[in-house]
C-alpha cells in the first residue's frame, strides 16, 4: 500500500538539496544523479498536472479555494499506489475549509521539515524572488503570503499558502498527530552524516553509513553548482542567474544591514530561539 512522506519547507531552505540527496540515496549509483531528472514537475504537492490528472477535470476552471478543498482527495488517491512516495511541499500545514488537513490524513505517513536560519532565507529568497532584501523580509512576515496566487493567467502550480515564516515553521512542527522529523539546513552542512542518516531513517529509506556518505558526496554543493554551470537547472527562476548560489550558512553577516537583522529578529525571534538561531541574550548565533 502506498502513502506519502512530505518533504516540507519554506522556500529557499534546502529542500532541493535534500531531494538531490534523496535521489542519490535511492539510485545508489556509481556517479551523481542528474539534477534535471529529479521527477520534479509531478513531484511537488502543488503541481497542477498531478491534480488535473487524478481529478479528471481542469483545476483551471476552479477558483483557488475550490481547488484547495479538493487537494486532500487527490493525495488520498496515492493510497492505491504500491509504493511509498516522497513529495516536496511548500504549503504551510493548514486545514481546508472542510477542516481536513491539506495534505490528507490517512495518506500522510509523515513529514520531514527542513528548517533554515531566516536571516539566510531572506537573502536567498530575495535572489530567488527577484526582489530586494527588504521586500523579502516583508513577505516573510506577511501572514497572507502565498505562491502562485495570480488569478489573471494560469500558473503551472496551484496557490500555496505559506503564511509568515514563523507560522510556516510552527504549522508543521506543532501539527497535532503528525509523524514529523525536523532537520536544520545548518546541520546538513556541519554534520551531514548524522543529519542525513536521521532523515533517511525517518523516511523509511536505507540509512547504512556507506550508502548515506556516498549520497552526501554526490549531492555536495560543488557537484550541484558544477552540473548547473554545465547544463543549467530547470527549477531556476528565469530572472535569477543561478539556483545553487552559495550553499553556505551565515552569508547574512556580510549581506544584511543591522536594521534588517533587527527586523527579522523582531518578526521571528521566538521561533528562532526555539531552534537555536539566537543566543540567550537575543543576539543571532
Amino acid at each position: 500500500m502506498g502513502g506519502i512522506y512530505w518533504l516540507a519547507s519554506y522556500p529557499k531552505s534546502g529542500n532541493t538539496w535534500f531531494r538531490v540527496f534523496l535521489s542519490n540515496l535511492q539510485a545508489d549509483g556509481d556517479e551523481p544523479t542528474d539534477i534535471n531528472a529529479l521527477g520534479l514537475d509531478g513531484g511537488i504537492a502543488s503541481a497542477r498536472g498531478w491534480l488535473d490528472e487524478v481529478l479528471g477535470f481542469d483545476t483551471a476552471e476552479l477558483s483557488q479555494d475550490e481547488t484547495e478543498r479538493l487537494r486532500p482527495e487527490v493525495y488520498r488517491w496515492s493510497l492505491r499506489d504500491e509504493a511509498i512516495s516522497y513529495h516536496k511541499i511548500h504549503d504551510a500545514y493548514t486545514l481546508t475549509s472542510d477542516r481536513e488537513p491539506l495534505v490528507g490524513r490517512e495518506v500522510t505517513l509523515g513529514a520531514l521539515y527542513i528548517l533554515r536560519n531566516p536571516l539566510d532565507v531572506a537573502l536567498s529568497a530575495a535572489n530567488h524572488w527577484h526582489c530586494s532584501i527588504d521586500q523579502a523580509i516583508d513577505k516573510m512576515s506577511n501572514p497572507e503570503m502565498a505562491l502562485c496566487r495570480k488569478r489573471r493567467a494560469l500558473p503551472s502550480q496551484v496557490r500555496q499558502r505559506l503564511l509568515s515564516w514563523s507560522e510556516h515553521v510552527l504549522s508543521w512542527v506543532d501539527a497535532p498527530g503528525l509523524n514529523l522529523e525536523t532537520i536544520r539546513y545548518e546541520d546538513m552542512l556541519d554534520d551531514p552524516q548524522t543529519t542525513f542518516s536521521r532523515a533517511a531513517r525517518h523516511l523509511q529509506l536505507p540509512a547504512d553509513a556507506k550508502r548515506v556518505a556516498k549520497a552526501i558526496r554526490f549531492s555536495d554543493f560543488r557537484e550541484l553548482a558544477r552540473q548547473e554551470a554545465a547544463s543549467g537547472f530547470r527549477e531556476r527562476p528565469q530572472r535569477t542567474e543561478r539556483f545553487f548560489r552559495s550553499g553556505a550558512s551565515g552569508d547574512w553577516r556580510e549581506n544584511l544591514t543591522e536594521a534588517q537583522v533587527k527586523r527579522i529578529i523582531a518578526d521571528h525571534g521566538s521561533v528562532m530561539r526555539r531552534f537555536g538561531y539566537l543566543y540567550a541574550n537575543g543576539e543571532p548565533r
Partner: protein, 298 residues
C-alpha cells in the same frame, strides 16, 4: 434546444450558448444531453479511476464536487445532475470539457489536448499542458486572420482529420490584455474566474481538415525559445502524453485503438517541440516561428 458541435447533432435540456444552434430538430440527434438523476457514487461494473471518476467500456461517471455529476454513455448520451444552487455557467464549462471529451472518446476519436488552426486546406494542432499558452496562440492566429477549428479538445477521426468543435476560445484576462481585446462585451466562463468566453464569430472553420503539423508547447526557465523537430518513432510518446485525459482511456478499454491512431498521426504529421521562456510571452515571434516551419514543411 438543438445544436451542432464536433460534427454531431445535439439535443440538450441545458441552454448551450457557446454552441452553434440548429433551427430544425432532428428526430434522432446523435447526442442527447439530459438533466436527470445520476448515482451518487459511481456505477456497477465500472472501474474507479480517481476520487471522482469511474468508467466502464461503455460509460464514464464524473463528479465535479459542488458543481455537477455527469454520466456519459455509449457516445450518445450525457446525463447531468447539477448540484443544488449551482449556476449554469459552471455546469456548462465541465459539460463541454471533460464530459464531452469522454463522449468523443466513446465515439472512437483520438482526442488531443490542444487547439486546431486552419492553414490552407490542412490544419495545425498545438498541444501541451494547461498554461503552456495554447489558447493564447490560437487567439493570436485568429487575429492574423486564420480560422480556428477547436479549442482545448481536438478530436481526430480515423483519417487523422481534426473535427471542428464549436466557435469559442477560453481566454485568461492576461491574454485579453496582451491581444488588446475589448473585454467589456465578453462573458466570464464562471462567475468566480478571470477567464472569458471569446466567440469566434467569423473565424471558425466548419469542415474537418487533415492534420499536417503538430506542435508540442512547453515552457522553460531559459530566456530563449527552442524549436526541435521530433523524428520518426519518437513522435509517438509526446502525442500519447498530450491526449485529453489519458486516464479516461484506461477505464473505457480504448487503449489499443487509441495507440493505433497515435501511431498513424505520428506517421503522417510533422511533429516539433516549441519551448518558450516562462516569463514574457512573445506571441508574434512564436507565431512567426511556427509559420516559418509550416512554410518549410508544406
Amino acid at each position: 434546444m438543438n445544436y451542432t458541435a464536433y460534427g454531431l447533432s445535439i439535443h440538450s435540456d441545458l441552454l448551450l450558448p457557446e454552441l452553434q444552434s440548429q433551427t430544425q430538430r432532428e428526430d434522432e440527434p446523435d447526442v442527447q444531453m439530459r438533466i436527470g438523476a445520476v448515482a451518487e457514487d459511481g456505477f456497477e461494473e465500472a472501474k474507479q479511476l480517481g476520487p471522482f471518476l469511474w468508467a466502464s467500456r461503455h460509460a464514464l461517471w464524473l463528479q465535479v464536487p459542488n458543481v455537477a455529476h455527469f454520466l456519459v454513455r455509449e457516445g450518445r448520451e450525457i446525463i447531468i445532475e447539477p448540484a443544488p444552487g449551482i449556476d449554469e455557467d459552471s455546469v456548462r464549462v465541465f459539460l463541454l470539457g471533460s464530459a464531452l471529451g469522454a463522449l468523443l472518446f466513446q465515439r472512437g476519436y483520438l482526442v488531443l489536448h490542444g487547439n486546431a488552426v486552419r492553414i490552407g486546406n490542412q490544419c495545425m494542432v498545438c498541444v501541451g499542458p494547461s498554461g503552456a499558452g495554447k489558447s493564447t496562440l490560437a487567439a493570436g492566429f485568429m487575429q492574423r486572420g486564420y480560422d480556428v477549428l477547436a479549442d482545448d479538445v481536438v478530436p481526430l477521426d480515423a483519417e487523422c482529420r481534426a473535427i471542428p468543435g464549436f466557435p469559442r476560445l477560453k481566454l485568461w484576462r492576461d491574454t485579453i490584455d496582451l491581444l488588446e481585446i475589448d473585454a467589456s462585451p465578453l462573458k466570464r466562463i464562471r462567475p468566480q474566474t478571470e477567464k472569458f468566453n471569446f466567440p469566434l464569430v467569423r473565424r471558425f472553420a466548419k469542415r474537418p481538415l487533415p492534420i499536417r503539423w503538430v506542435y508540442i508547447l512547453g515552457t522553460h526557465t531559459q530566456s530563449d525559445t527552442r524549436f526541435e523537430p521530433i523524428a520518426g518513432m519518437q513522435r509517438f510518446e509526446p502525442l500519447h502524453n498530450n491526449t485529453y485525459r489519458v486516464r479516461f482511456l484506461r477505464g473505457m478499454a480504448l487503449k489499443g485503438e487509441h495507440l493505433k491512431l497515435c501511431g498513424r498521426l505520428g506517421g503522417r504529421a510533422r511533429v516539433a517541440r516549441m519551448t518558450r521562456p516562462q516569463h514574457g510571452f512573445e506571441l508574434e515571434t512564436l507565431i512567426d516561428r511556427l509559420l516559418v516551419d509550416v512554410a518549410d514543411n508544406p
